[in-house]
């Protein structure tokens, strides 16, 4: 039963299993364990990014394609829900309409980009997606009538999900059962479902072909698979999952703007997470996102302490300043590309066999 749920691709390592169980249990119980909105926001961000990063892993880790347009699809999903809710009013059907339109747009765009440039080499695709993504970002901030420009869009959600809604009068275990909590669990279960769906995809025969293309596209072609078709399909699938993640983000934040979902910084974050967590493992997305987001939210406080303690040495202090945390992640990224290209998950898994 459990093996089926995980598509027969179990973590295959005791520590990894333990970590995953801890993470999932932690995320499931966050509203009851840790009070305060910061913890809940961090947990929701982790959940959404798990889907986003896993969908990027489908592309980078399983198919071996580097795309820089992933935040574009993320943004399309977020804008779809945001625009529909802002224009059509806070109803479930407007969320649905926004989501469907966003998925369609992502489908068409990813298909076009894929057919246009996946015939050529990986590098070409990376460059073209970079250009397209930056053009899309400009477009989103220019169409301010529709997208709210640089300020973004604030919008209301259906009543069930709005913070003012109280399901029960009495709080349970210190957590009040309100719309916020319901939204959190909506995000939680959607993310889990989407993650399991992607796990299913990469472990299907289709997923095996993708891995064959990653390992040796010449040979995959020779065996009789049309690599262009498979690459494009993988591109489209990744784009659609990213769009769904974007919709979840918009629902959680009740806001969307260029910095929340479209910026190049997010793209870099995704890349860092996938590689540090482990390319081509799916579980790497869970581990990587959790580590990264926790570091982003809490490591900076620690670094501030370090910077304060070393204030006698200005250079060291500057290196440890909380604003420089990306520097250390960048270094970690480069080191992990060299020394453990399969990331944390790959490292854990290989320990068992050796």
């Amino acid at each position: 039963m459990i093996a089926r749920l995980f598509s027969h691709d179990l973590p295959r390592n005791r520590w990894l299993t333990l970590l995953l169980v801890l993470i999932v249990a932690g995320l499931a119980l966050t509203p009851f364990l840790i009070p305060g909105s910061k913890a809940l926001n961090v947990a929701a961000k982790i959940l959404i990014f798990i889907v986003l990063v896993a969908s990027y892993d489908l592309l980078l880790g399983y198919t071996g394609i580097v795309s820089f347009a992933h935040t574009m699809f993320f943004g399309i999903g977020a804008y779809g829900v945001a625009i529909a809710c802002a224009r059509l009013g806070p109803t479930w059907s407007s969320i649905g309409i926004g989501l469907v339109l966003a998925l369609l747009l992502s489908l068409v765009l990813s298909l076009l980009i894929g057919l246009f440039s996946l015939r050529v080499r990986a590098i070409f695709y990376a460059m073209i997606t970079l250009a397209v993504a930056s053009a899309f970002q400009t477009l989103a901030s220019q169409l301010s009538e529709l997208t709210g420009g640089e300020d973004g869009l604030n919008f209301k959600l259906p009543e069930l999900l709005s913070p003012a809604f109280q399901l029960l009068e009495e709080p349970i275990l210190n957590a009040s059962i309100d719309g916020r909590l319901i939204t959190y669990y909506l995000v939680f279960f959607s993310s889990m479902l989407l993650f399991l769906a992607m796990l299913r995809i990469v472990n299907s025969p289709f997923g095996r072909v993708l891995q064959a293309i990653r390992e040796n596209d010449f040979r995959a072609e020779a065996i009789g698979y049309r690599t262009v078709v498979f690459r494009t399909l993988s591109n489209v699938l990744a784009a659609l999952f990213a769009t769904l993640a974007g919709a979840l983000l918009a629902i959680w934040l009740r806001y969307n703007g260029p910095d929340a979902s479209l910026s190049f910084e997010i793209m870099i974050d995704i890349l860092l997470i996938v590689v540090i967590g482990g390319m081509g493992t799916m579980y790497g997305a869970v581990i990587g996102t959790t580590l990264f987001t926790l570091a982003q939210s809490y490591l900076q406080d620690l670094m501030a302490l370090g910077a304060g303690a070393t204030s006698n040495w200005p250079w060291l202090s500057a290196l440890l300043s909380p604003d420089r945390w990306l520097l250390w992640l960048g270094v970690l990224f480069v080191l992990s590309v060299y020394f453990f290209p399969t990331g944390v998950v790959g490292k854990l898994r290989s320990r068992k066999t050796s």
């Binding site: 071996g64 580097v66 246009f116 050529v120 080499r121 990986a122 590098i123 070409f124 990376a126 460059m127 073209i128 970079l130 250009a131 397209v132 930056s134 053009a135 400009t138 477009l139 220019q142 190049f264 870099i268 890349l271 860092l272 590689v275 500057a318 290196l319 300043s321 604003d323 420089r324 990306l326 520097l327 992640l329 960048g330 270094v331 990224f333 480069v334 590309v337 060299y338 290209p341």
Partner: protein, 347 residues
């Protein structure tokens, strides 16, 4: 100057004699694109002096872009390494220039043209030396181990870019720093009724100098011969007894230094520097080298000119479209020639 075919449009001689005969003719068609675009813009712009101003501005912008992109296209052509970290060298060059020009306060505030130019030249020289050195370190530490692995290259150089940007923020601070032109380079020259900014003239001169220098080195020297041979068939050059590795390092350093020079010019053109400038310019130069055909110097030059001209014409005629002119141009060129104007070999 030789025809473009001499160094870039030559075919990958894969035994198809028809193809190589056809392609050995100089390929002039793309060369006509830039003048054609300029002429086409004339009736829309309407007035001749405005057109001259716009064209000069476009060419100047194109020249600066060319300086930056030429380094990348050289590195890509010879080494087959697409350096996503190229932007860091651009930013580093600009920041070094900020520091040098700041130290040379007497020279830059003097109103003598000679001293002003000398200050910029010194800043550019130091920036090139700095980024060249940086390029050496970058090649040694990051790129060397991943030759031939494209996926790894993209990831590694992207990581280098993140680290580099953070280091720049650490040294110079994350805020924008204004970079003012020295007094004698501010303002414009009036030719008839057309106004041409003085700095843009300087940019055109520097850009042309770099272009001619590159062409001469590539076409008229032994070093250039080796580099061109390396672009076409690396293993053959190696088997003839030349140390291709050393050549690689040299080209990487030279490309990084060119990026530094371009960074100085770009910083002065934008009159300010921000740590993220590298990433922003990266997008622009990728578009240019995609248009030109990956690895081709002529294509890179043409692509830069087209991008510069189109940006200025559309900026004047349809400001909203100007934001997307690059990507539209790229799409149009790729529909015509899917691998760019002058594709090098069959990479």
């Amino acid at each position: 100057m030789s025809a473009p075919s001499a160094q870039s449009a030559s075919p990958a001689t894969t035994g198809n004699s028809d193809a190589s005969v056809a392609a050995s003719r100089p390929d002039w068609l793309p060369l006509l694109l830039a003048p054609a675009m300029a002429l086409l813009a004339l009736p829309f712009v309407g007035s001749l002096p405005t057109w001259v101003t716009l064209t000069a501005a476009g060419l100047a912008m194109g020249m600066i872009i060319f300086i930056i992109a030429s380094g990348l296209t050289l590195i890509f052509g010879l080494m087959d390494v697409l350096n996503f970290g190229h932007g860091v060298f651009i930013a580093a060059g600009a920041y070094i220039a900020v520091s040098v020009l700041g130290l040379l306060g007497d020279w830059t505030s003097a109103s003598s043209l000679g001293l002003n130019i000398a200050a910029i030249a010194l800043a550019a020289a130091l920036a090139m030396a700095g980024t060249g050195l940086l390029g050496y370190v970058f090649e040694r530490m990051l790129v060397r181990r991943v030759y031939g692995q494209h996926l790894m290259q993209i990831l590694i150089t992207m990581g280098g870019m993140v680290v580099g940007e953070e280091l720049i923020k650490m040294i110079w601070g994350p805020q924008m720093i204004a970079l003012e032109l020295p007094p004698s380079l501010r303002g414009a020259l009036i030719l008839g009724e057309a106004a041409i900014e003085k700095y843009r003239l300087l940019a055109v001169v520097v850009g042309l100098a770099v272009f001619v220098f590159l062409l001469l080195v590539l076409n008229r020297t032994k070093l250039g011969l080796l580099i061109r041979a390396g672009v076409q068939d690396r293993e053959m050059v190696e088997s003839l007894g030349y140390r291709i590795r050393r050549l690689f390092v040299g080209v990487f350093v030279a490309g990084s230094a060119l990026a530094g020079l371009g960074g100085v010019m770009w910083g002065l053109y934008q009159q300010g520097v921000v740590p993220q400038m590298g990433a922003r310019v990266n997008v622009l130069i990728f578009i240019v080298i995609i248009i030109g055909g990956l690895g081709s110097t002529w294509g890179c030059f043409l692509g830069a000119m087209l991008v510069g001209l189109l940006a200025n014409y559309t900026g004047f005629l349809l400001p909203k479209v100007a934001l997307f002119s690059n990507i539209l141009l790229m799409a149009a060129i790729l529909l015509w020639r899917p691998r760019g104007l002058y594709p090098v070999t069959d990479r």
